[in-house]
């Protein structure tokens, strides 16, 4: 069978499984949030899967990512245990952070996932640190920081781009441009319609891709990650994408145009675009995807049930982990 794609059949199925897992995870959360069982702020990554997965398909555990408030997708794509994530979102002792962090702070350092983040732009300096460490420790790991169009205006991001450039760090700055920062349009808030130009200002290569096209992301990410690994220094990658839901769960989204969400789901669903391509090329069968779908559905169902049934942290946990040693 002729495979026109840059990934093997297995690779394609893995990518699909990861994207499907994120989608299922987020859509279930959307439903569960409405029941009132989930506390706090929850920002869903649904609609943006192709970007996280397209990039993370190139990464290993010793590669580091610094994520955002919209971090579930990054976590899943980087291999964080889905059940531990779900339990964390439910604030349970079995959560990825023992229930202490919650949705906005899921981390798994063993997987190279340096944490979702409640502070916009905070990941960029941290990832420079990851790049510096890789450089000094002499391994070929790269660091990837994600930030939204909104957070791209944080001073930390711009300072970090300069720092990464002058130190030639193995770091990628990924702009996840979904057009909105909360309710505010990128057109208003970002003073240049080109992140590529912004990168050029720091003397680093920049690429803009259609973030709903997995393959476009995959290819561009492959290029900038390879360069970083080989000592070619930092790059910027802008993924233009859409978020399916509100800024957070509970957002009425009146800032959107009428029919915008429906049109997005219909024409710009990265998962549909991906399956459309691989099915059309005949590389995979519908049935194979259906099997994955049902396995993923089972996984998420298990994760949810497990999270709901898991114990809450014990009172003693309140004051542990403030320091390594006391």
């Amino acid at each position: 069978m002729n495979n026109p794609f840059p990934l093997s059949r297995e690779g394609l199925l893995t990518a699909y499984r990861r994207m499907r897992t994120i989608r299922e995870f987020e859509e279930r959360l959307h439903v569960e949030f409405a029941t009132g069982d989930i506390a706090g702020f929850v920002h869903l990554y649904a609609g943006e899967e192709a970007a996280g997965v397209g990039i993370m398909m190139h990464l290993e555990d010793h590669d580091r990512i610094a994520s955002t408030h919209r971090g579930h997708g990054h976590c899943i794509a980087k291999g964080v245990d889905v059940k531990a994530m779900m339990a964390e979102i439910y604030g349970k002792a079995t959560g990825a952070c023992a229930g202490k962090g919650g949705s906005m702070h899921i981390a798994d350092l063993s997987r190279g996932m340096m944490g979702a983040n409640g502070i916009l732009g905070a990941g960029a300096p941290l990832i420079c640190g990851a790049g510096l460490a890789a450089q000094k420790l002499g391994h070929d790991g790269v660091g990837i920081t994600f930030f939204g169009d909104g957070a791209s205006n944080q001073g930390t991001v711009l300072e970090s781009m300069n720092l990464a450039a002058i130190w030639n760090l193995p770091v990628i700055f990924v702009v996840e441009n979904n057009g909105y920062a909360e309710s505010t349009s990128v057109d208003y808030a970002v003073a240049s319609d080109s992140y590529v130009d912004r990168a050029a200002g720091f003397g680093m290569p920049g690429i803009t891709v259609d973030g709903t096209d997995f393959f476009a992301v995959y290819e561009a990410a492959g290029e900038v990650i390879r360069r970083a690994r080989e000592g070619g220094g930092p790059s910027l990658l802008e993924c233009k994408m859409i978020r399916f839901y509100g800024h957070f769960e509970g957002d009425a989204q009146t800032y959107r145009a009428p029919g915008e969400n429906e049109a997005n789901r219909q024409h710009r669903d990265c998962l549909k675009i991906f399956t459309g391509k691989i099915l059309e090329a005949g590389v995979v069968e519908t049935g194979e995807l259906a099997v994955i779908d049902s396995e993923v559905a089972d996984l998420i169902e298990d994760a949810l049930e497990g999270a709901k049934a898991a114990p809450l942290p014990s009172a003693a946990e309140l004051t542990t982990d403030v320091y390594v040693t006391y």
Partner: protein
């Protein structure tokens, strides 16, 4: 019935009236209008909590949505304040203060002194604070002592809608930089609030409850909790005085001393972490100035020395509860017999 307003609406009304009174008052922050440049409705958010909703239609040109660049826009507000505007900058969560802290503590706070008394910086920086929202470690802090530590900043943390309106108006009219902290779990609580404008002067604590046996000194969300604790204690025959500091800089220690001189017992209640806190500050001041009137050791009821946990099970333990406050009071009462 007399008119009641929520704290949230009291803030909206204060901003509304001050913008109307003085065209140099400008309000800026992230999504405080909302929908700027977006295809849908304008005034789409009115701030993350809807506090500024509706104001843009009354005061076009006086509300400005900012990019997510706290260092730049908070700094710009400070700069503008030295050049003839009276900006009110909103920081969604006080936790984000770290991003722009230099502009606040090295710039705004120091201009007047550093420039030999020649500068005025009439800027207000509003931010939500406090735990109880299940918002986890980076969206739930009090951080009040960070600001009270810095000379040149005025720090306000009201406990009810009436005080909020009057203190915010005072903050806007005040010629010094003011950090105005709004506890998010107080936003929907209502009190009687006059429709007219009024300013509450800084540096005057309010006595939220008169009592003779023991003095609780507190502020913010801990005021209603302390009042709740006082009701429980009343049934046990303990008559508690609750002092609501309202402004943390300047701080009204005279009212604290007077009360402690009468009761002889002090419980400092603070939702912030305990070290170098408002609670420890008040305790130290009483030890210095009113030691002789103390009948026993001072008690402190605070959050633990830990970040705010996410899990409800832990967060509920983290926040000083009315029960823990009552226990703190009982502890000081017990000292009498020992």
């Amino acid at each position: 019935m007399a008119r009641t307003l929520s704290m949230k609406d009291a803030i909206n009304e204060a901003l509304d009236q001050e913008m109307g009174r003085d065209p140099t008052v400008v309000v800026l922050g992230e999504d405080i209008v909302g929908g700027t440049g977006s295809p849908g409705e304008d005034d789409a958010w009115g701030g993350a909590m809807g506090v500024t909703k509706g104001l843009i239609h009354k005061h076009p040109g006086q509300l400005i949505d900012t990019p997510l660049s706290e260092s730049a826009y908070i700094g710009a507000a400070i700069g503008a304040a030295t050049c003839g505007l009276r900006p009110v900058a909103e920081l969604m969560f006080v936790d984000f203060m770290g991003v722009c802290l230099d502009q606040i503590f090295n710039q705004a706070a120091k201009f007047r002194y550093m420039f030999g008394g020649k500068a005025e910086t009439p800027v207000v920086i509003r931010a939500t604070c406090g735990a109880g929202f299940r918002a986890a470690a980076q969206h739930s802090q009090m951080l009040t002592p960070i600001f009270t530590h810095i000379p040149g900043l005025k720090v306000v943390c009201p406990s009810n809608a009436y005080d909020t309106k009057g203190l915010l108006i005072q903050s806007i009219r005040d010629n010094d930089p003011v950090i105005f902290l709004e506890h998010k779990n107080l936003y929907d609580r209502e009190t009687d609030v006059p429709e007219e404008s009024y300013a509450i002067p800084f540096g005057e604590a309010s006595i939220a409850r008169e009592g003779t046996d023991v003095t609780i000194v507190t502020y913010g969300m801990m005021v209603p909790y302390s009042l709740e604790a006082s009701e429980t204690l009343k049934r046990e025959g303990i008559d508690v005085e609750v002092i609501d500091l309202r402004t943390l800089s300047p701080i009204d220690l005279d009212t604290v001393f007077e009360s402690v001189e009468m009761t002889g017992r002090l419980v400092c209640v603070d939702e912030a972490n305990p070290r170098c806190s408002i609670a420890s500050d008040v305790a130290a001041a009483v030890a210095q100035e009113a030691f002789g009137s103390l009948k026993g050791p001072v008690a402190m009821v605070t959050a633990p020395h830990a970040p705010v946990p996410f899990s409800s099970a832990l967060e509920d333990l983290y926040i000083p509860s009315p029960e823990r406050i009552a226990d703190g009071v009982r502890q000081t009462m017990g000292e009498r017999s020992s």
